[in-house]
């Protein structure tokens, strides 16, 4: 699908590409893919610069490779992972099949302030992390967009739900989001494809929650960017299970499966893999980006590309890193950083706190197929009733399943009857885990670490991030409410779970180039355009002024499509 133009540009000396593009998009992940689609479809000759390698679905997707064809039967090549991906391999999706979609920690180092661990999980390839993302897709509401103003925290969002609602419609109609309409004010419905089904144990918990929590708490099937019916040339999901290994039927949404092919179809896309953006060159007279400086990952040649408009979609922290690395005398602390907010207010979601229990009953029922989606309990704290312990709230995610053969490891049985018994499904279990909103805080920030460089000599980031009191209080509440809901469903052997995951591990990092009304306190305007640089847009998670508690990718998609529309209108008016 991509024109591979690697290797051009000679060796070592900086050369300029003669072609000038209408637009350059940095990154080909979930937002870069959308920018590529929107800009090319609106007539712009667009260059997408992707730092990683090309992906060929027919060769690289491995979702149908069974355990017995894997050398370590799915346990992973532990020594190699410990050596090369000690950070990445802490993510569930970075396994024996999919570790190739995650970066090498050796080539891509970062540093942290002592006592403040941070997990940065990254993917560098065409498609970025949209290949192995979690696919959960939820709209924000005005409860979220008004939160900063109401609480007097950070800066007010310059947009409201009404500004983004049509763009949610727009991206959902293309991407395909399955889910159940509930009409909740705190979690607006999407334009849904039919929902996936709850399994038996999940239904038991759903009914018990409805009975015991007076309608304040509701369990619904996860809203996911997975097709439950054929949609725009992509096939319905066939329930093989491990989406993070790829999907040859293109049933879940990713750049590779949906937006990049659409962009390619216009004939206006040039996709250049192995193109690591080093920095942006600023023209202080024109107040624009004059060039995008790239290091070819293979030849290490330095090349400069030019376009009328530049979209940074490299992921929250990578986009910030590029700007921090593009300082000028006017912007000594990073390009487009007259506010001093660039790299600050880094947020994530606080998770891994909840409960699991055995849910008795339905022993004569099993789940056939592997539904690649879980259940969701929309936020109920600080919606109708106020929580005394913390601001904002959290949603719960989880799933029901019958225990498998693994339960036999620590049993003492052996022999024919043992084998027969553990070959049959074990009891039904349900787990529920919170995903909590994280407050924006200036003291959570990243900076350039000039003493540590990546494999291409580019300075890396140093992280200074920690959970605040509000998040810690929320984390405590999650285990209690999860256990309450399972107890209401007759759950037995309830286990409270609380892993003290560091920030970053929800892989929802956002906020480091926030939107706002005032150029003195924000980096981007209400259309994701940099206040300081006329032709620069950032449409990845960096733009977020607060974090909500829902998975953010759908909102990034909508903001990207909206920003592209704005940019093209500005160009047509000659303002860019």
């Amino acid at each position: 699908m991509c024109r591979d133009r690697t290797g051009e540009g000679g060796t070592g000396t900086a050369v300029s590409e003669e072609t000038t593009y209408d637009a350059i998009v940095v990154g080909s992940g979930i937002t870069g893919g959308w920018a590529a689609k929107e800009l090319t479809e609106k007539g712009l000759k667009t260059l997408v610069l992707e730092a990683g390698r090309p992906i060929v679905p027919e060769q690289d997707y491995v979702e149908h490779v069974p355990t017995w064809e894997m050398k370590f039967r799915g346990l992973g090549d532990r020594r190699r992972l410990q050596e090369d991906q000690p950070i990445q391999s802490t993510c569930y999706a970075c396994d024996e099949w999919s570790s190739k979609f995650f970066v090498s920690d050796k080539d891509h180092p970062y540093t942290t302030e002592p006592g403040k661990p941070y997990r940065w999980i990254r993917g560098r390839q065409v498609g970025g992390r949209s290949i192995m993302w979690g696919r959960q897709s939820y709209r924000w509401s005005d409860l979220d967009f008004e939160a900063n103003l109401r609480d007097g925290i950070a800066v007010d969002w310059p947009i409201r739900y009404a500004d983004i609602a049509p763009w949610y419609d727009y991206v959902e109609e293309f991407a395909g989001i399955c889910g159940e309409a509930l009409g909740l004010p705190q979690l607006p419905d999407s334009k849904f494809l039919p929902p996936m089904e709850l399994n038996c144990a999940e239904k038991v918990v759903r009914e018990a929650i409805a009975r015991h929590f007076g309608g304040e708490r509701i369990l619904t099937i996860g809203r996911a960017a997975i097709l439950t019916q054929d949609h725009l040339g992509r096939a319905a999901c066939h329930y093989c299970g491990p989406c993070e290994r790829g999907c040859i039927t293109r049933s879940y949404f990713s750049s590779l499966n949906a937006t990049l092919p659409a962009a390619e179809k216009t004939g206006r896309l040039t996709l250049r893999p192995f193109s690591i953006v080093h920095s942006l060159r600023f023209d202080s007279n024109m107040r624009t980006i004059a060039g995008v400086r790239v290091i070819d990952a293979n030849s290490r040649a330095a090349i400069e590309f030019r376009a009328k408009v530049v979209f940074l979609c490299a992921s929250t922290l990578e986009s910030v890193r590029i700007l921090l690395n593009s300082s000028t005398t006017e912007f000594p602390n990073g390009l487009a950083n007259s506010s001093g907010e660039l790299g600050r207010n880094v947020m994530d979601h606080i998770m891994s706190s909840g409960a699991e229990a055995v849910i008795p009953g339905n022993e004569d029922r099993v789940e056939l197929g592997r539904r690649p989606n879980g259940v969701y309990v929309p936020r109920f704290r600080n919606v109708k009733t106020k929580s005394p312990d913390f601001l904002r709230g959290y949603g719960c995610q989880g799933s029901g399943y019958r225990q498998g053969w693994e339960r036999g490891i620590l049993q003492t049985g052996f022999g024919a009857s043992f084998k027969k018994s553990i070959s049959r499904p074990g009891p039904w279990r349900v787990g529920l885990y919170g995903f909590g909103e994280c407050l924006p805080d200036r003291t959570n920030y990243v900076e350039l670490d000039k003493n540590t460089v990546d494999a291409w000599g580019i300075p890396t980031l140093k992280m200074h991030c920690a959970w605040g009191k509000n998040e810690e209080a929320m984390r405590k509440d999650m285990q209690i409410t999860a256990a309450e809901m399972l107890a209401a469903a007759g759950g037995r052997d309830i286990e409270i779970v609380m892993d003290e995951d560091p920030p970053g591990f929800a892989i929802h990092e956002m906020g480091a180039a926030r939107m706002g009304r005032d150029p003195k306190t924000s980096v981007l305007n209400a259309h994701n355009r940099a206040h300081d640089v006329k032709n620069l847009f950032i449409t990845d998670g960096g733009a977020m002024a607060s974090s909500s508690c829902v998975n953010p990718s759908l909102t990034y998609m909508a903001l990207t499509a909206r920003a592209c529309d704005y940019a093209v209108r500005q160009m047509k008016r000659g303002e860019l």
């Binding site: 355990t67 050398k71 239904k203 084998k419 018994s421």
Partner: protein
């Protein structure tokens, strides 16, 4: 060619349930097969035979294949050679040696030479010890606010983990025993199955 054709159709948006049978079979065809192992690299012939015997006792051949049929001892040798660190490997090997020491002291024979009843007695004893150790680890964890994961796994739980993993992730174990399908024929979140007629779940 069939596999290529199958992939082409899928990429073009064909629906799996409507897929021609021979193409579906081609899609499931094995690829990138793991190279066949030659001789064991960590376990000596006696250790290898002991591991194989113990694994077969845990998951014997019945109307379905057993641990030996799916090359469990070979998998364990691979894991000891290329996966575990030296400390874990040595813990496994010394636990394995202790099995012979115990069998010798009780029955004056190596484990592999003992009778089936004697071998079973040894496994029962190892199981009891495993349960006690797990209990002690739990007590320690709660006393010291540690986590269970911090306790290193002993020989017998390691052996059981490797045996069960090897079996249920093998082609025969997964398909014959668990009825695993890479591409499921259908999905049903609450499908009825034959009720279990045998004795309840052992502890």
């Amino acid at each position: 060619m069939d596999r290529r054709e199958a992939l082409r159709l899928l990429a073009a948006g064909a629906s799996i349930p409507l897929f021609p049978g021979h193409l579906l079979a081609a899609l499931r065809e094995a690829r990138a097969m793991v190279s066949q192992q030659s001789a064991p690299r960590t376990l000596n012939p006696h250790q290898f035979a002991t591991v194989r015997t113990m694994a077969e006792l845990i998951l014997p051949k019945t109307d379905t294949p057993g641990a030996t049929d799916v090359a469990t001892a070979e998998f364990i040798d691979l894991m000891l050679t290329e996966w575990y660190d030296p400390v874990e490997r040595d813990r496994f090997l010394s636990g394995l040696a202790a099995v012979d020491t115990r069998t010798q002291s009780l029955f004056s024979a190596d484990f592999t030479a003992a009778s089936l009843a004697q071998q079973s007695e040894i496994l029962i004893e190892l199981g009891e010890k495993m349960t006690e150790e797990a209990q002690r680890a739990r007590d320690r964890a709660f006393a010291g606010n540690g986590t269970l994961a911090e306790s290193p796994e002993g020989f017998y739980p390691m052996l059981r983990r490797l045996t069960l993993t090897s079996y249920y992730t093998s082609e025969q174990g997964a398909t014959d025993e668990l009825h695993f399908q890479i591409i499921p024929d259908r999905h049903d979140e609450c499908a009825a199955i034959e009720p279990e007629k045998e004795a309840p779940e052992p502890r």
